[in-house]
Symmetry: C2
Subunit: 348 residues, 2 copies
């Protein structure tokens, strides 16, 4: 690595921009801790243009452009007509940041972007859960072969340390079980239906408030939760599974009556993610479950999420993320950058 660390950012939506702002704010602190300056040498978007400048893009200017015009001005000297894949393959960077939108049934083209970086012996950070849910083992192996780092903290629970928690603070522990509430759309929908609102009404309101995607089926049918469950199991238990291997049931059959019946039993219904390993066999499932209304899981409401991690040496530890905003995801990406800078021998 040179004294300036060069990073390429693929995908520059809300997360990418919030990360860029945080990076700009923390530039001095990074320099004082690691004695390096971090230059963004490439930024790609799908429809707003791309920027490439191996001397370092003026990030503040780029962010202002997007705010003012909603695209990069083609007259900028660093404007370039180039694809994300070409950036991954050809631009001179030290760390690739894969922040493109999720393709939930393939993990592509994010997987190929990351492979391109690792094959070039460049470090990679993914905020895209597709690669972790669909191809973790091959990416992990490729990173190891090339002796580079590959981090992905934000892929489950945004910036809340989950993978870092296990790697950095639960050393020597073997993870035997994970359990959690990881999809906030379904959590929101179940709570609103419990108030007596119709399914359609809830979806409309959720879209307005930004909790529900334009096409809510990936959440409602449990695919997003299944992808996160696969990611957790792949990383924490070397499960080598895909979302298709997760025994998945969404909340589409849960209605007001079922919620009230559960309530009469002192329970609430939550979409629970579970993964376990026993006798060498992996169990992975996502399904609506009744949990006691006084339980920890029942207390996880709205956009708050939780994962409980059981290990051989430390019993069960749970970590909760409270009502995250985009800044928390940006921090997660930033924390992966900091982890690369901390663990790369050349910056120490």
């Amino acid at each position: 690595m040179s004294e300036n660390i060069k990073i390429a950012i693929l995908g520059f939506g809300n997360v990418g921009r919030a990360f860029a702002r945080l990076l700009t704010e923390k530039q001095e602190e990074i320099y004082s801790k690691f004695n390096v300056k971090v230059d963004v040498v490439a930024v790609s978007t799908r429809s707003k243009g791309c920027l490439v400048n191996e001397e370092g893009i003026d990030l503040t200017g780029a962010l202002n452009d997007l705010e003012k015009y909603n695209y990069f001005d083609e007259s900028r000297s660093d404007y370039k007509d180039i694809s994300s894949m070409k950036i991954a393959e050809n631009v001179d960077y030290d760390i690739l940041f894969e922040l493109t939108p999720l393709q939930i049934f393939s993990g592509q083209p994010a997987i190929d972007h990351i492979k391109a970086a690792l094959n070039r012996k460049k470090h990679a950070v993914s905020a895209n859960k597709g690669p972790i849910a669909w191809a973790f083992k091959s990416l992990r192996d490729l990173a190891d072969e090339n002796n580079v780092l590959f981090y992905y903290e934000t892929t489950v629970m945004d910036g809340t340390p989950v993978f870092n928690l296990v790697d950095e603070t639960l050393k020597f522990c073997k993870v035997t079980e994970v359990k959690g509430i990881l999809n906030s759309t379904t959590n929101f929908v179940l709570e609103e239906i419990a108030k007596g609102k119709s399914y359609d009404e809830v979806i409309q309101e959720g879209k307005k408030r930004g909790f529900v995607e334009e096409d809510p089926s990936m959440d409602i049918e449990g695919w997003d939760a299944a992808a996160k469950t696969a990611a957790l199991l792949n990383v924490l238990m070397e499960a080598d599974i895909t979302p298709y291997d997760v025994d998945r049931k969404g909340i589409e059959d849960i209605n007001y009556e079922k919620i009230k019946e559960a309530e009469a039993r002192g329970n609430v219904i939550k979409l629970v993610c579970y993964g376990g390993i026993g006798a060498g066999k992996i169990t992975a499932r996502v399904r609506p479950e009744e949990v006691s209304k006084n339980s920890l899981l029942a207390s996880i409401t709205g956009t708050t999420s939780i994962v409980s991690i059981t290990t051989d040496l430390m019993g069960t530890v749970s970590i909760v993320e409270h009502e995250p905003e985009i800044e928390q995801t940006a921090y997660g990406v930033f924390s992966d950058l900091v982890r690369v800078l901390s663990n790369n021998p050349l910056t120490n």
Copy 2:
């Protein structure tokens, strides 16, 4: 450091023995990761004798002795009539483990044991919260001056990563607030009183079940919670306070009627620890508070505990320890050992 890491263990009660068992089990894994063998060169107890052997004590034999006779056999060749302080000052070790019983109003003699180690440029690990609650800043400074490591993960929430969580996974974040339920005795007593049992009945039952100390006043009056609050603030916010600086109210005035009144308002009463920093001013308090019966805090029952940590960059993250046993505390001590081995340049 030599290729063999020598450790001295002051205090060999339940935690010390569980740590010794874990160390014995993990010896090979430590060797394969760090290429060092960990030798216990001294073990002290207050009333069961001490062992010193600079070639390494036979731990399994020592544990068996205690199980069989409840003291170390004076005819052992490594038996020595020596005080914990003399061990700290004179035995040749690399890391001191301070596991002696807590003296809640002074932190002594644990503080002096640790100072003796740090002054000799030896690393120190404390499972004793006294030093962290009463003298953290001076110990931290002394460790820094002598360029040695000082860890204390178990002093709040046993082996659950709290200090490690902030240090290792929330880098660049500034802690602005902590809040938690950290004393399981009061948590248990409040729940039992809510069932209509008398205070005396609950205390007797708690003693039988091992949740309540012989003298329960340190818990009931909030001193244990205040010590943990001081420890959290000293480490995470550089507060430099003592338990006397914590605005403290115990649960001695909480009775069945008050709990039922709270219940009528949809609330439960919990002994809540709080610390915050605003405009340069530290607030630290422990007091019984009403929390909504559906809240995360309300779901923390029995010996389970929680701390919520708010930072500038990552919002609020909570970590929960579920019904810990002595093995979790032993893991916390072990994780501090692993942290010394990981961070000491000579073992890398």
